[in-house]
Symmetry: C2
Subunit: 201 residues, 2 copies
């Protein structure tokens, strides 16, 4: 199982943005749509062995954690970002009712929403996966020996802050797809293709 | 200079599609928007050393060839596909006036439209670049020795036909990012990141 964890600093936590102008109104939820696309989609296929956490910290009700669980997912993920943004909107609508921090609601089969924090998600993931932090200055992907369940943490277009990095220090090895700063979705696509080449499930 | 050549079998050749439903109305011009994104965009940056040819063979006026010339490009490419689709629409609008096969019109600085065929574009590219055909069964990217100007040919979601492949045989080496069939945009992102790692401009 491959897990991708993306922390979005500005992603709206209420479904009040416009599908017609995602970059301008949603706190860059368009970035997250493209990450989902890169995490799950093959040409004419879907990766069932993938889990994605989107953790939104934008206004007005942070945090909101959306979990896309590949093996259970029954909604169709289409490659266009507009249809993916609609799923995120639906999750945020349902998430408005959430009060308890630990509770998770099922939006559709395989799509869940909760008030979990970035730290909660890291802790949960560490129980059964090896954690990696994708960072330009990390060890080149080709030199890392992956095995078992692997989980990758990424920042959004603004990157992770010092507090986030402090949480990762000691629990996540820094790995890198290259020395330049790439778009999150391109990094996820590359990691997936690299793991395929290694035969990692 | 890196060149990416994408032949789209169904991409509309008239600006009569809807930005609200690109996948359903444009002959999958959304696929091409994501390829442009992967070809040109870095996180907070733009690759100037890239040229992209989109060659559209959908109805009603095929072919239409759009050339995005990185070093000259003055229009802002945004990562959301909707804004990129608007540029393609503008090019197709201007392209309606084209009658002569060899003539190319400037849509914006660095964006051109013509009635060139796939074969025309291959011939033009071969003049100053080494041509590669991205194909699942090709030689793994890591084993190829790239140098100088490199150009990569890709199919869209339907792939290239036998006639297209006949044109490529003998002039383009088949190379591969992996044995599975990946989305065109993910392949382009991977090729770019791989060429970066080799220091190829």
């Amino acid at each position: 199982m491959r897990t991708f964890i993306i922390k979005s600093n500005e992603g709206r936590t209420k479904a009040d943005f416009s599908l017609r102008d995602l970059p301008g109104t949603s706190g860059r939820i368009d970035v997250l749509c493209r990450v989902l696309n890169a995490a799950f989609l093959l040409s004419h296929g879907f990766r069932k062995n993938v889990r994605v956490w989107l953790i939104l910290y934008g206004p007005p009700n942070p945090p909101k954690a959306l979990r896309f669980e590949g093996p259970e997912l029954r909604v169709r993920l289409n490659p266009d970002e507009r249809s993916t943004a609609k799923l995120i909107m639906r999750a945020l609508e349902l998430g408005e009712k959430l009060r308890e921090p630990g509770k998770e609601l099922e939006v559709y089969p395989g799509l869940y929403v909760s008030n979990r924090t970035f730290e909660d998600v890291l802790r949960l993931t560490l129980k059964n996966s090896t954690l990696y932090y994708l960072h330009e200055a990390g060890e080149p992907l080709e030199d890392v020996r992956f095995s078992g369940n692997v989980a990758f943490v990424l920042g959004d277009h603004r990157g992770l802050g010092r507090e986030d990095e402090a949480l990762l220090d000691g629990v996540a090895e820094r790995v890198s797809v290259g020395r330049r700063s790439y778009l999150a979705s391109h990094v996820v696509a590359c990691v997936n293709i690299h793991l395929d080449s290694l035969g990692i499930p």
